[in-house]
Symmetry: C2
Subunit: 125 residues, 2 copies
DNA sequence: CTATAATTTCGACAAGGTTCGAATTAGAAG
DNA sequence: CTTCTAATTCGAACCTTGTCGAAATTATAG
């Protein structure tokens, strides 16, 4: 699968993405480009122990269990989470490398100086 | 509008996203969750002068001009790029704050390196 | 003022995604 | 073995989206 540590791409504003890299990243981004999956990912990652049971996740939404299961599958297929069955329940946890990959893609090139509040540079040309 | 400087959300694995924040972020993520728009964004951001003409962008794809225009509109509506008409051509440039917002969302929180603790801190604001 | 070129808007269609209800698998408990 | 609960898979509606061709808009050139 080669999804663990892929130094895939430079920050998006540094050099043009190749067609294959763009297609690859789009798959992962499509997975997170949904309110439900975004919240699922957030709930899993911020849960105690770094993992969350499906039962907890399902209760937090006004959606049926099959729908939540579908969203979890999308996240898992995209390589963002991993699921493990322990007894009756299934626990999911985030795959940090995948999230880091997205973070690197949108890493700021012109970073606002730390310690200094609100100093967004833009414009002068 | 209020899309320029929104210090919206904590990293995705730190605390559960609210329903509104998730919906808001999903709009922006949907905009970049497409191979064409990903490449467009990358080409615009990495272009000399930080801006690119639509004519240059259109030639790089096997798509019609209306389709490229549609994708640019999606990116612009999501607050990721801004367009300006100078004479015959229209030039687009990235809105850095929007990209930074996504970068902050996927900022690494728990790195899988057990040896060195606490060496990656996230940015203030 | 007319012609030409660049870009966007409009209308339409095919493809894909979200959601549900019903059926299915897997493990635990009686 | 049977039954109950947790989670997934399946099949079908409904909505959204990517794409194109044609027409409209905007600005330069003659």
């Amino acid at each position: 699968m080669a999804a663990t540590t892929t130094p895939c791409c430079a920050p998006i504003a540094r050099e043009p993405l190749s067609e294959t890299d763009a297609a690859d990243l789009a798959v992962m981004l499509k997975a997170v480009a949904d309110p439900v999956r975004l919240r699922l990912l957030s709930m899993i990652g911020s849960h105690a122990g770094g993992e969350a049971c499906v039962c907890d996740l399902t209760d937090a939404f006004d959606l049926t269990a099959p729908t939540i299961s579908h969203h979890l599958k999308v996240l898992r297929t995209a390589g963002l989470i991993d699921g493990e069955r322990r007894g009756t329940w299934v626990y999911y946890r985030i795959i940090p490398e995948a999230v880091n990959k997205l973070g690197a893609l949108f890493a700021p090139l012109t970073e606002p100086s730390p310690g200094r509040p609100g100093d967004l540079e833009l414009l002068p040309v």
